[in-house]
Structures are given as structure tokens and as C-alpha cells.
Amino acid sequence: MQIQHPTASLIAKVATAQDDITGDGTTSNVLIIGELLKQADLYISEVLGSHTLRSLHSLYLSGRGLSQLDGVSSCLVLHVPESEARADTVEKSKLPEVAWGTFSTDSTVERAWGLHPRIITEGFEAAKVKALEVLEEIKIEKEMTREILLDVARTSLRTKVHAELADVLTEAVVDSLLAIRRPGFPIDLFMVEIMEMKHKSETDTTLIRGLVLDHGARHPDMKKRVEDAFILTCNVSLEYEKTEVNSGFFYKTAEEREKLVKAERQFVEDRVNKIIKLKRKVCDDGNKGFIVLNQKGIDPFSLDVLAKEGIVALRRAKRRNMERLTLACGGIAMNSLDDLTPDCLGHAGLVYEYALGEEKFTFIEKCDNPRSVTLLVKGPNKHTLTQIKDAIRDGLRAVKNALDDHCVVPGAGAVEVAISEALVKHKSNIKGRARLGVQAFADALLIIPKVLAQNSGFDLQETLVKIQAEHAETGRLFGIDLNTGAPILPAESGIWDNYCVKKQLLHSCTVIATNILLVDEIMRAGMSSLKG
């Protein structure tokens, strides 16, 4: 992200960090920080900046219809943008009405009126501690069943793509994670490969219980579809290499040359023969297929020999797929063909090739117990593909977070409303002016339900007040129904957010808002600070 403004770039950095840690909540992050600053500003700038004062002063002294205020006079201490304070735009009648303080050119006025940022930040800190306590109380610990996970994924995905697509992705995302989850081990999201295919429409995105490779066999005689196949994964060069020694061939006759070339090739042929031997051993009844997936190259001669034996061979498998291959199909990735045994082989129920324009895809499906799966993203154009890929990544993270946390929190703005109310109550326990900071924090959190209401086309205040009232009356967690604008119970409608996202939000927003508030002045923004 290319952001020129230093403050904005700082906020963008937090959003990036949020995305790295939790995979969700980047927008909330920006919203809350912005709102925290805005609320703080109300308290800090509760006095006119000295330049505004001065311009007003001169306005008064010029005595345009304001001579009754002679010299030391009352004046407004509202935030008036400088442009509006010009003599001709300020309506005379307004000025005496909002006269709150005593006007003086002395700069002590500023100290008397504005809250020092440090005090606000103290309030923020206190509010954060309380908010985390509240969050801890309202989180719901329960068994992470498929239903709950579907709800979590749906909540996350519906904010990113349209509903129809979100439903397709929800199932795919949850099922993929449940497939790769092993009790007692942390979930490795890399084991869910996301593969894109510019084809059909986005709702054709599916979960493949196996792998999809974006290349095919290079020999025309190799079968395009093999059922019930053994899979050999290896990292052995089946490519004829010229001798390392810079010698060249020495021969007198054509036969001699043949012989030399043959000797050179012997190494590669031996390797190919080992594979063929194993194939004959395991597939003697003739019904089973045999697939070789090699990380290194296979030259046309070797391909030819393998094709004659009915072996399908794919060369140059991607390195990051090698681990996935053995996890999906079973078996061991072989680095040498010397000790080949049938135990090294994996198994897949169906392997087939699919050509799309000049691109070929090889599907390895129906694996017995896949511990690595593929989400095949389809879409008509590059933009859709990227969008779906991003959505899927976020969905995966959301489900993973839920599985890691063992708990969820109600969504739809319910958490923010609850925390905000708890903070307002908590305010009286804080001594001194720091309580204003707590108030600011409580108000700032309400930006989330507000934005939800606004984006669904409802009146901000009305919706918010309704929810707050419901919450205050019943003490249950109410959120916004985005379809009707009425309060709903997210827990009952299956709207769940991640606990860790909210926690991270509270932490990072407070820290960054505090940081920004405590900056006195930006002297110069260096080049390196501009990267988002």
C-alpha cells in the first residue's frame, strides 16, 4: 500500500500487522483508531488554537458590529475552522450566544481548556484493561462443532464477498480445515493449497480432497485418466546429463558413437528400470494405475519408456507441492531409487488431466485420508480470482482462530455495544480527568455498530439507541440485524466473531491511538516511513 501521509501510514501498518496476526479485522482497526483520535480530539481541542484565537481577536477588535464586547469579552470556544472565522462569514448573531469563556490573548487559555493528550491516553489505557475484562466475560466457550465453524466462516466471508458465493466458500473452507486438522498438532494452513483456474463462474469454486497440479504429463501416449492408482513421489533426475568433464566424445565409427551415447544414458535407464520393476510388482493384475511425480526433470526418452509401460509420469513437480503430495496420498518422497519398496507408494482413487487452453491441470482426487487438500478457485477473470483467494485466506484464518481459541464472541456489533456500556459504568471508578479518556474510548467503540447500520442503509442513531436499550434492559448481547435494522441476538442467529481478533483490536488500536496522540509535531517524514 502506498500512503503518503505519515499518520495514515502508521495506521496502515497496524492494519497490516492485524492481518498478519489474525487475518481479519483490518477495517475495524482503521475505523476504531480513527474514531479514538476523533473522540480524543473533542477533548483536546476544546479550546481554539492560538491562531484561530488571534484571528477572532482581530475580528473583534476591528469592531464590526461587535463593539459591545469591548476589549476583554466573552467569545465562543467551539471548534471553528479557520476559514469560517473570517469576518464576512461569521454571523454576528451567533457569537454572543455561545460565549463560554473569557477571552484573552494570553496563551494560558489553552492550558485551562484543553485536556492534555497524556491524560486522555491514561484513560485509554484504563479503558482497555476494563474492555479486555469484559471481553473475557462475554466470550463463549464451547465445543467447536462443524456448525459453529460454519457460522464463524460465514460471518467472516459474508463481509467480503456476496452471499451466494460466501455460502459456497463457507462449506469449502470449513471442510478443508477439518480435513487437515490432526488432534494434538497445530493447524498448518499451508496444507490447504489454493489453486486458481480461470474458468466458469466463481460459484464453481470447490474443495478437492487431494491435489491439483498446474501441469500435465508430457507424453501423448500417457493416459489422461487413471483410476485406483499408486503414486510414487520422487526427487530423482531422469534427465540425461552430459558428462561433467569437459571432454567430448571420441569415436571412430557410427557404432562406437552409439555405444558411447548408450553408456552415457545407462545411468538414467537404470533408474527408469527400477521404477518399471516396482510398477510390475505392485500392478501385476493390470487393473491398477501407476503415477510418477518427479520433482526433477524427465527427458523424452525416459517418458517414452515409461509410457510404454503404461506409467503416467509428471516432471518438475513444484517443491512446495512435494510435501503436500505425500500428505495427501500417503507414501514417502524418494530421494533415491535404490531402496524402492511398495511401502513407499501412495494411493489415489482418481487421477485425471484437464486441459484449459494451453494450460493443463492434473487432479489427484479421492485420496484415502488426505492430510492436505486443495481449494480450487474458479472465476471468469483475474480480478474475481484474486478477490476469492483473499476471501478464502481470511475465511481459513477465521476458522483456524476459532479452533485455536476454543471460544467465540457474538458478532454484529454486540461485543462493542456491551463493552461500551460496561465502560460507561466503569467510568465512575476512575479518578480524575482520565475518566474522560474512558468515555472517549467507550464512544469510539460504538463506531462499529454505527458503520454496520450505515452500510445497511439504516439511521445510525436510531439503530444504535435501539440496541443499547435492548442490551440495557435484558443484559443480553444484542447486535444489528443488517436486513431489518432491528436488534437481534447474534448468538441465536449464528453470527460469531473471533475472540482473538477482538482482543488484538483492543490492544493494537489503543497502542497506536496513544502513540499518535502523544506526537507533538512531525518534523519530517523520512522516505522509509512511507511504506504501508
Binding site: Q2, K242, G297, R316, S528
Partner: protein, 519 residues
């Protein structure tokens, strides 16, 4: 920065670049474009079409397009099939008879794609969105920035996927050619890329060509110091991970102090124009890489690299004579005998004048010498005037000459019949003394445009590098890196720089002339 992999004679280009440097070049190339919009409209209701105007192509590109394909009035793009033979599609046929109109106006050329007429495969280009191509801020200018780019999973995976697409297609993978800028952040990107390539495709040749801009001024100290840092870090890191690395530049030196750019006796080129300098470097590169690109040749990338990089001398220098000064009617032995003790080569590696240095190993390619002129046609019975005249084949003549020149040096030489084609869009900067075949006439102007030129190139590991690398290390040691905090911020540490200086000294040591050991 461009990668090229070569599998004997099929080759493809992959590059990564910052947005903006492609200008009117479409990321997906023009070949696959489907503009049949009207045919696919199934929507029954009202339809509004919004069209975005393409960035105006300069007249030269439009000419190119109309010469290669037919851009019909409805915007449908059809490409004429070129016969795919061994030689380049005959450009002279494709271009109209009036070549004047095809010379690109020099002012309109801003980026490399403006004079590129190759249609790229849609998978070829990978654009780095993170940095700006030019402008004040946000450019990819530090080694660390480039290096960290390839540590980000998005770029890394994209690069791997794109590369994989081509690599999987290869029957016999020889290796990779990496072309990258040494003076900016791309040197870091190149270093990381070669590291990944070496890791993934062990045993394959990785030949890296580090490109440097020709002229620079002392006026912009930041740029100048960055250039020095990037060059040093790039050279050392790339040398560690590739089979061979060769700096290519028209500038005079690698160091801080600007030296006048190199000159070619029969060319009048403007060193400030990337259009001119890239044409010259491309010509040299095209010829230097001949040994492992030809079907008939038995040398592979690895062999060439092994021969030149003997005992750790992984940095090599290039030189070229463009055009190779031959007069019409003279045979190759005559021409070579004229030169006397030196090959008429312009150094292209910004390492200074090669005089007084010796080379340890070299690969020399000469192209564009007629079959009839390769040997001296002496009538039987007369004794040859020199050993060169006695040779029976052109290859022998060249090999013999090199042997005479520098006895005891490991040399490999290649002689090619086909000359280098210089029809537009090649810039026209040749002296008027050249005829159509690029041969030198005796001072008379004959008016015809030069179409082909003979070219001689050398790639050698020379003791010149002892001085050049040592000097680079010395200049680095005198600088205080802490003054360039923004460079450090991008991920390079003070210790890295000290290590680099040490490495440069070590590299320089490899090129120490054997004689000086005795002294």
C-alpha cells in the same frame, strides 16, 4: 530485470518490473487478447459500454504493430503467422520498403517496452506493484528492499509459478540466464533469485548479467552512493549463487568517480540514451551467449561457466567490437594479421582498459564472416605469409590467432557465418563508412543503410578484475555506511557491508596475476 531460460533453441523471457515501466505494453501481451466483445453479449436489457482509451502508442510502435499483424478498424487483433525457422523472422520482409518511417523517434522512447517488438507470452511478466517505476519516492532503490521482495510469499510464489510453467516445458534444462540491474534494488532481487534458483535447480548453469547504466554524474550523491553499495552487494551475492556473473555497462568504471564512457570506433552513439546503450549491450549479449545457444554446439552453460570460473573466478568481463572492423575483400587471416598484438575490443564491463593485463580463460565468438573469406585463398605452391594464412578453416584461423596472441590461455572460440541484424528498430548510429554488410569502406560514403554487421565478442576472466574489484572494495571501506541510514533501514546491516568488502577482497585475490607472485 529479465530471466531467460534456454533449452537449446527454444527460449522464453520472464521478467519482473515495477509498474509504469511497461507503458503501453500490456501485461498479458497482445497475442492472446480477445477483443470480440460484441459476440458474447447475452444480456437482453440496456447495455452501455465503457471503453478505456489505451495509452497512446508512439508512432513507432504503431508501425511495428501494423507491420507484424493487422490491427483492423474494429479493434480486432490478428497476428500473421511467422514461419518458425531457425533464423529470426525475416524482419526485412515484414517491414515496408521505406525504413525511414520505422526509426523510432528518440524523444518518444521512455522505457524499454517502447522499442520492444517481441510479443511476450502472458505468463512472462510479473509486475511489482509495491514500488514506483520513477518519481521521487517509493522506488526500489536499495539492495535490502529487493532482497526482501522475494521473501514475501506473494511475489515468491508468483515467481515460482511463472518460472515453473516454462521449466516444466523443458526437455533438457541447461540453466538460467538472469539479467538484472546492479545499480538499484533489483540487484537484491537478482541475488535472491539466483539463490533460489541455485537451491531449486542444483547443477544447472546460472549465468547472471549485471547491467549498469552508462553515464552518471556526481551531482546526485545519494543515487551515486546507493549505486556503489548496490553494485558491491549485488556482485558479491550473485557471484556466490550463480555459475558466472558478468557486469555489463558502457560506463568507464564501477566506482564512485565517473569515467568517460567507452567508445566504439565506427559508431556515434549517445550514451545517455538507454535506447542506444541497450542496443549495444544486447548485440554483445546476443553474440556472447552463442556457444551454449546453438544446436550444433557441444558446449552447455555449465561447461562454459566451468571453463571460465576456474578456481573461484566467478566474475568475468565482457568485451565486444561492434562492428568487427573488416574491409570488403580482405580475408579473415588478413584482417587479423592487421591488428597485430591486440584484439580490437571495447571493454563492456566497466572495469577499465584491459591493456597490460592477462586473461586466465576466455571464450571468443566471431560472427558474420563469409565462408569464402574465412581462409586466405592462396594458390597452391606459394608459401603462406604467416601461420594464419596456412590454416584450412576459419575456426582454425581464429583459434590460431588467439593462441599467438596469448599463449597458454585456455580459449574457446566460435565462428559463425550469420551476421548480426541491425535493421530497425535497431538504432541507426553507424558511421557512414560502413556498407550494407557492415564492412568498412575506404572513407567513401555510399548512402545505403547498414543491415547486418559482423561482431566479435570476448568473455574472459582477466587479471583486470584484480584491480577493479580491489578498487571497489577500497572505495567501500572509505565510506561510512551509517550516514546512509535509509539504506540500512531496508534490511542491510553494517556487518553485511564489512563482509561484502572482505568478499570483494577475496574475489580480487583470485585474479592476482601469477607473475606478481614471483616479484
Amino acid at each position: 530485470m529479465t530471466y531467460k531460460y534456454s533449452a537449446y533453441h527454444s527460449c522464453s523471457v520472464q521478467g519482473s518490473d515495477s509498474p509504469g515501466s511497461l507503458s503501453s505494453l500490456k501485461q498479458e501481451g497482445g497475442l492472446y487478447q480477445d477483443k470480440h466483445l460484441d459476440a458474447a453479449i447475452a444480456w437482453q436489457g440496456k447495455l452501455t459500454t465503457h471503453k478505456e482509451e489505451l495509452q497512446a502508442k508512439n508512432p513507432f510502435l504503431q508501425n511495428l504493430l501494423s507491420a507484424e499483424g493487422v490491427m483492423s478498424s474494429d479493434g480486432v487483433w490478428r497476428v500473421q503467422a511467422f514461419p518458425s525457422g531457425k533464423d529470426i523472422p525475416s524482419l526485412t520482409r515484414a517491414f515496408p520498403s521505406n525504413p525511414k518511417s520505422l526509426i523510432p523517434p528518440e524523444g518518444s522512447i521512455k522505457v524499454w517496452s517502447d522499442f520492444l517488438h517481441v510479443q511476450l507470452h502472458p505468463k512472462s511478466i510479473c509486475i511489482i506493484q509495491k514500488y514506483n517505476h520513477d518519481g521521487e519516492a517509493g522506488r526500489l532503490e536499495g539492495f535490502g528492499q529487493g532482497e526482501s521482495l522475494l521473501q514475501e510469499p506473494t511475489y515468491l510464489e508468483e515467481l515460482e509459478d511463472r518460472l515453473h510453467f516454462y521449466v516444466e516445458e523443458c526437455d533438457y534444462l541447461q540453466g538460467f540466464q538472469v539479467l538484472c540491474d546492479l545499480h538499484d534494488g533489483f540487484s537484491g532481487l537478482g541475488a535472491k533469485a539466483t539463490e533460489l534458483l541455485q537451491d531449486e535447480y542444483a547443477g544447472r548453469g546460472i549465468l547472471t548479467w549485471g547491467l549498469l547504466p552508462g553515464p552518471y554524474t556526481l551531482g546526485e550523491p545519494q543515487k551515486n552512493f546507493y549505486r556503489l553499495f548496490n553494485t558491491a552487494l549485488g556482485l558479491v551475492n550473485i557471484a556466490a549463487h550463480s555459475s558466472l556473473v558478468c557486469p555489463l555497462s558502457l560506463g568507464g568504471s564501477l566506482g564512485l568517480r565517473p569515467e568517460p564512457p567507452v567508445t566504439f570506433p565506427h559508431l556515434r552513439y549517445d550514451v545517455t540514451l538507454p535506447y542506444h546503450s541497450s542496443a549495444l549491450l544486447a548485440t554483445a549479449l546476443d553474440t556472447i551467449t552463442v556457444p551454449y545457444r546453438l544446436c550444433s554446439s557441444s558446449i552447455s552453460m555449465v561447461h562454459l561457466a566451468d571453463m571460465l570460473s576456474f578456481s573461484g573466478r566467478k566474475v568475468v568481463t565482457a568485451g565486444a567490437s561492434i562492428p568487427f572492423p573488416a574491409a570488403p575483400g580482405h580475408s579473415l587471416p588478413d584482417t587479423l594479421a592487421q591488428f597485430g598484438g591486440t584484439i580490437p575490443c571495447t571493454p563492456l564491463s566497466a572495469c577499465g582498459e584491459p591493456s597490460g593485463t592477462r586473461s586466465f580463460a576466455q571464450s571468443v565468438v566471431l560472427r558474420g564472416v563469409d565462408k569464402t573469406r574465412q581462409t586466405s585463398q592462396i594458390s597452391p605452391g606459394t608459401s603462406p605469409s604467416s601461420p594464419l594464412h596456412a590454416c584450412t578453416s576459419g575456426e582454425e584461423v581464429l583459434a590460431q590467432y588467439l593462441q599467438q596472441l596469448q599463449p597458454g590461455v585456455l580459449s574457446s572460440s566460435q565462428l559463425l557465418l550469420s551476421p548480426c541484424r541491425v535493421v530497425p528498430p535497431y538504432p541507426r548510429f553507424f558511421s557512414s563508412r560502413l556498407n550494407q554488410q557492415g564492412l568498412i569502406l575506404d572513407g567513401t560514403h555510399n548512402g545505403t543503410a547498414v543491415e547486418t554487421i559482423p561482431v566479435l565478442t570476448t568473455l574472459c576472466s582477466s587479471s583486470l578484475l584484480h584491480r577493479a574489484l580491489g578498487r571497489l572494495a577500497g572505495e567501500l571501506a572509505n565510506l561510512d555506511l551509517r550516514r546512509w541510514a535509509s539504506f540500512l533501514a531496508a534490511g542491510v546491516e553494517q556487518d553485511d557491508m564489512e563482509e561484502t568488502i572482505q568478499e570483494l577482497h577475496n574475489l580480487a585475490q583470485c585474479y592476482k596475476d601469477g607473475d606478481s607472485l614471483i616479484n
